[in-house]
Each structure stands twice: as structure tokens, then as C-alpha cells.
């Protein structure tokens, strides 16, 4: 079984709770992110909650990505961009697949981007575009407007 299919067991609840707690913690963000107050965490796409690693770590890279690419500072748009890549990869609408499938698709998307050289450097790390956008999406969905 692949790690991405660990999906939505008990880990999701605690991760979501953690993301919610971060709403209060990240008020002093160095960048102005999002066009509105942070979205309620229960609006997070399930695959985004499931794939995110430790939130502080993810936020570090997500915030750095958004500083480099402020034009992507739009939470709906960045999710749509990621899901469009997933749909290109799988040929299936995201709404028509389960979270476990979505995570596998995401893994293939990321691999494919590395293979094609579609990566960006964020805080020194070479990250596939979608991977970097995942981190940015987490940042956008958890960091409040200032």
C-alpha cells in the first residue's frame, strides 16, 4: 500500500484540528496571503488535508512559494490548478474519485513534473510545481488575512 493511501483514517482528524489551531498562530505572517479571512478548515479539499505533512513545515514552504509567486495568491485558483493537473493525469474529474485515488493521482502528477523538469526552487528546495502549490494551498487555507 502506498503512503498516499493512508488517507482519511484517524490522522485526518488530528491534522484538521491542527490546521484549525494554526489559524490563530499564523496571524503574524510576513506575507499578505489570500483575499479574505482564512477559510474554515472544514472546507479544505480532502486530498489536501490527507497529503499535507506537519503543518508548520508545510506552511514554511507554502508561504515562501507565495512570496515568489504572488500572482498565485488565490486559494480557489490554486486548488483549481492542482485539480486540473490531477484531471489531466487521470482523465477523471476530481469529484469522481475517492481520496485514496486522488492521492495516488497526485503522486503521479508530482513524479511526472519532475520527469519533465517542471519544478521550482523554494527555500533552496527543488519542488515539483504541484508539490509546491500543495504547500501554498495549505498556507492559503490556514493563514489569515492581515
Amino acid at each position: 500500500m502506498n503512503g498516499l493511501s493512508s488517507s482519511m483514517a484517524g490522522g485526518e482528524v488530528s491534522r484538521r484540528r491542527f490546521l484549525l489551531s494554526l489559524l490563530g498562530m499564523m496571524a503574524a505572517s510576513a506575507v499578505r496571503i489570500g483575499g479574505a479571512d482564512a477559510a474554515p478548515a472544514n472546507d479544505l479539499p480532502p486530498w489536501l488535508t490527507a497529503i499535507s505533512g506537519r503543518p508548520e513545515a508545510v506552511l514554511r514552504f507554502g508561504a515562501a512559494y507565495l512570496q515568489q509567486y504572488p500572482e498565485e495568491n488565490d486559494r480557489e485558483q490554486i486548488i483549481a490548478t492542482i485539480e486540473a493537473r490531477m484531471e489531466d493525469q487521470s482523465g477523471v474529474a476530481t469529484t469522481e474519485s475517492c481520496v485514496a485515488e486522488q492521492l495516488l493521482i497526485l503522486q503521479r502528477v508530482v513524479r511526472g513534473e519532475y520527469l519533465r523538469g517542471e519544478f521550482v526552487r523554494v527555500e533552496g528546495w527543488s519542488l515539483s510545481l504541484t508539490e509546491a502549490r500543495i504547500y501554498a494551498a495549505v498556507a492559503l487555507w490556514t493563514m489569515p488575512d492581515q
Binding site: 503522486q107 513524479r111 511526472g112 508539490e131
Partner: protein, 510 residues
């Protein structure tokens, strides 16, 4: 036989068949090819059997290009710089010998095929035989780990053997001492290669000890084997019959100095599941009596397609990260954050379940040694400063080009693509080389190109047999004859060339 020339009467004269200047890997390898024959060999070494500061100081010089400590990269006693050799062995790649239209001044006078039998013999000399430099199947069998194929087509796996390392003075000293036809002159500094006939024939070598004694050696043929920097210096210093130095009628001696820029701190790798990077990529594996490791190299097809220089990447495991141990330096925090952010991409549940729950992953340093394009402006000349023997010191002007830098960056990109696409880990790159070469660039103590080999005397100092153009009895051994540097450590190749030259000299004087 060993002879300490400091104990001889002043003005002692030696007569021999083959005089070899320099008791390093090249000189000793050539001398040994004559052991037990009727050919008399005189091996002339500036130092003794152990390092001495006064002798080592003769290596000091100026560095006016990229900062380069010319004294620290070389050792001046029997065995030469093999005395601090790291032991890395790998032959040049076939493409390194070719004339590549995108690499100015590239092309050896012969192909790799010519050197293959000498690579086998050289592998025995440096104690890594039987070599398995390209045999992926062999290493998969002995390690029990499959080695992933390139998914990008940009890279290939190659294997580096590690010599013990062979310190040539220690390893072969007693053999030389007991030889009936080889004399080793110790503490003997060649101060002039005296030529006659308008510089077309070497007549004798003039020697001087640091204590002031002067001796001479006459031979039928002479071999200059003092290292990639000193070979050029000796030719330039020997100017009593040729004002610009021996073999320098076309202003080629000393030009085309090449190193392997070692891009220290260029990149780091974090890996959550260490099994995703087979052990031979990150540690030295012992098999058949010697150690080896795997290297990432660009594929020949990719080099041709993108018109790039060669390159070698090697990884070394540097440390582990645990969630219950706080990072103790800034970069460690960055490594840990990456391992935690990307965890779902880098480890699967089954592996995570059997590893210690606190283990986040590992970090590895990535070493990168690059080929630099042969550049006539990267060169050795003579300084106005003088050494203890009254000889002009060398002046090194090491230069790198944009072509060198951009090529290295493209290979870095390939490595990121491979490692990412194979889910091995994530690569950190400081960006230090993004816009220009930094002020400080490290080398590998690899001194190449200053007496380059070319059949055309206007484009090289020595011909395909390593004979100096225009001089009928002077030969050069060592990495100074390399027309291009490839991305392999040079010792194995310079020993192979020395053995080839030894065979050639046998045909001349035997």
C-alpha cells in the same frame, strides 16, 4: 638502489638509458616497466622517503586566477602526490576522448579503445583489479539491491573503485630499492633540462641538492613526470637553448590548465526511506577485495543532445533526523521541515510502520566534479619570485568559463529530475552557482592539460606517444598531457598512460 644525492661528491655524473624526472605515480609506473630488464633506469626524486618542509616549500608559487593553494595540492617526496591521494579510480568515458564540436580544443589523438589494456594494467598497479567500472549487473548481484534505471534518459550509473589508496613510494619503494637496473636518486632537484641542437635533443639533466651540490645525469631518453603543474614549469625553466622554454615554440607549454571544479555545498539530498536509494549510492561497498561506490553520470546521448561537458555526482550519507531531537543548526531545521512536509511522497505506510517512529529521515551530501572546457587562458607561467634553488616559481592563473558553469547547472537539473521522478528524496541547492562562478571554487588536486597531447605541434606540446614535439628524446608523463579532463579522477588514467609510455620506451631503447 636508493642513492641520497646529498651524500655524493659534488659534480657526480650518472649515465643511464632512461632518466625519469619525478618519483610519483607516473614516474614509478614507468620505472617499474623496466624492472628486471637490461635497460638502465635512473628515477630522480626531489624529495626523500618522507616529507621535509624545505623540499615541500619548493612547490610554493603564485595563484592569480581562481584562488588555488598550489603548495597544498601536491607532495614532494617519493610517491609524490599519491601520498595524499583519496584513492578514487574510474577511467575516462569514451566520449571524453572524442573531438566534440561543442567543446573547443577537444579530442585526443586516440580513442578509449587504445587505453583499455592499459586501464586493466593500471587497475592492478593501484590495487583495484579486477575493475568493474560499468558492470551494473555485477554490482546488483553482489549488493543484492536492484539499481534503478534512469527515468529521464539523462543519466547513467557508473562505479568508482577505491584504491587502498596506493601510496606509490611505500607500496613500490622496496621493489625499486632492490631492483638491479633501477637507481633512485633521492633529494635530487632537476634544475635544468639541457638541450642541444637548437633545442632538438636533450643532452643531460642538471641536478642540484638543497645543500648546494651539483650533479648531472645523461641518458638516451628522458621522461618528465613531475606532475601537472611542475611539468610545465620545468619546460619553461629549461630555456638555455630555447628562450621560451623547451617544447614551447608555439607558446603552448603551460596553457590549458584544467581542474575538476568540485562544487562544494552545491547540493544536498534528504531521504525519508533510505532503501529508496540503494546502499552503493551512499556508502562504499566492499566486494572482491576492494571498495566501490556508485556515481550518477550524464548519459552519452544526453551529453551529445545538449552539447554539455561531462560531470560526476556522488552522494555520501551525512546524518539522520529524529522528531525528538531538536535541529542544532539552521540547515538541519530546513532539512527536517522538508522531510516532514514531503513525507507522504517519500515513504510508504509499510516502511514507516517498521522504522522507529521518531525517525524522520536522512540527509546526504552531494559531491559534484565537473569537466571544464580546455581554455588557453587558464595557464601556468613563471613568476618573478624565486625558490631556494634560485628558480622562478610557478604562477597559476586558473580560469573557468560560463560554458563550464551552465553545463554543471544543467546536470544538477538532471539529478533533481531523476531523484524526484524516482521518489527517492528532495534536493536542496544553495543557488550559489546560479548567476556566476563564486569567488571560491574548490578543486580536486587534479592538475591537467598544461603539456597537452596533440598530433599538431601548434595545438599541443606532446604527440600521441607523449614525446615533446620537436625534441627527439624527451617525453612527458602524467595528467599534464590530457587534452581534456573528463569528469573522472585522473590517477588511473595517468597511470594507464604511463604504462603505455613505458611500453613505447621499451620499443625504443630495449
Amino acid at each position: 638502489m636508493f642513492i641520497d644525492t646529498r651524500s655524493l661528491p659534488d659534480l657526480s655524473k650518472f649515465e643511464t638509458d632512461v632518466a625519469i624526472i619525478g618519483g610519483g605515480p607516473a614516474g614509478i609506473s614507468i620505472a617499474r616497466t623496466f624492472d628486471g630488464t637490461s635497460t638502465r633506469v635512473c628515477l630522480i626524486e626531489s624529495g626523500g622517503l618522507t616529507p621535509e618542509a624545505q623540499t615541500q616549500a619548493l612547490y610554493d608559487g603564485e595563484s592569480v586566477g581562481i584562488a588555488y593553494p598550489v603548495i597544498a595540492h601536491r607532495l614532494r617526496f617519493l610517491g609524490g602526490s599519491s601520498n595524499h591521494w583519496g584513492g578514487f579510480c574510474r577511467p575516462l568515458d569514451a566520449i571524453d576522448f572524442e573531438q566534440r564540436e561543442w567543446v573547443p580544443h577537444s579530442g585526443w589523438p586516440f580513442s578509449k579503445e587504445t587505453l583499455l589494456p592499459y586501464y586493466d594494467r593500471a587497475s592492478e598497479v593501484v590495487e583495484v583489479a579486477p575493475p568493474r567500472f560499468e558492470d551494473k549487473t555485477y554490482w546488483e548481484r553482489v549488493t543484492g539491491e536492484p539499481l534503478p534505471d534512469s527515468v529521464t534518459g539523462r543519466m547513467q550509473v557508473r562505479f568508482v573503485h577505491f584504491s587502498p589508496p596506493t601510496h606509490f613510494g611505500e607500496r613500490y619503494g622496496s621493489e625499486l630499492e632492490q631492483s638491479k637496473n633501477i637507481e633512485v636518486l633521492l633529494n635530487a632537484n632537476v634544475v635544468n633540462i639541457a638541450a642541444v641542437g637548437e633545442g632538438r635533443h636533450v643532452d643531460q639533466l642538471q641536478l642540484q641538492t638543497l645543500s648546494g651540490l651539483r650533479h648531472s645525469v645523461r641518458a638516451r631518453v628522458y621522461v618528465l613526470a613531475t606532475g601537472g603543474l611542475e611539468n610545465a614549469r620545468m619546460l619553461l625553466l629549461s630555456n638555455d637553448s630555447m628562450p621560451h622554454g623547451l617544447g614551447n615554440q608555439h607558446d603552448m607549454v603551460g596553457r590549458f590548465f584544467m581542474e575538476h571544479p568540485h562544487l562544494s555545498g552545491f547540493a544536498e539530498l534528504v531521504v525519508a526511506d533510505i532503501l529508496r536509494l540503494p546502499g552503493i549510492y551512499r556508502t562504499r561497498v566492499f566486494a572482491d577485495g576492494r571498495y566501490a561506490t556508485a556515481a550518477f553520470n550524464p548519459s552519452e546521448s544526453f551529453l551529445r543532445e545538449r552539447r554539455l561537458l561531462n560531470c560526476t555526482f556522488m552522494a555520501g550519507q551525512a546524518g539522520d533526523y529524529h522528531s525528538n531531537v531538536a535541529p542544532n543548526w539552521e540547515r538541519a531545521g530546513l532539512h527536517r521541515d522538508m522531510l516532514e512536509a514531503a513525507r507522504h511522497f517519500l515513504i510508504d505506510d509499510r516502511r514507516a510502520a517498521i522504522l522507529p517512529s521518531t525517525l524522520l529521515g536522512h540527509w546526504l551530501g552531494l559531491g559534484c566534479a565537473c569537466e571544464q572546457v580546455p581554455n588557453p587562458d587558464s595557464r601556468v607561467t613563471l613568476s618573478t619570485q624565486r625558490d631556494a634553488l634560485g628558480l622562478q616559481r610557478l604562477r597559476l592563473d586558473w580560469r573557468l568559463t560560463e560554458q563550464d558553469r551552465l553545463s554543471a547547472l544543467e546536470h544538477m537539473r538532471s539529478l533533481v529530475m531523476e531523484i524526484g521522478a524516482l521518489d527517492i528524496g528532495r534536493v536542496f541547492n544553495s543557488g550559489e552557482y546560479d548567476s556566476a562562478w563564486p569567488q571560491v571554487v574548490g578543486g580536486g588536486s587534479h592538475h591537467m592539460g598544461t603539456t597537452r597531447m596533440h598530433d599538431d605541434p601548434r595545438q599541443g606540446v606532446v604527440d600521441r606517444h607523449c614525446k615533446v614535439h620537436g625534441i627527439d628524446n624527451l617525453f612527458v608523463a602524467g595528467s599534464s598531457v590530457f587534452p581534456t579532463a573528463g569528469a573522472s579522477n585522473p590517477t588511473l588514467t595517468l597511470v594507464a598512460l604511463a604504462l603505455r609510455l613505458g611500453d613505447h620506451l621499451k620499443s625504443l631503447v630495449g
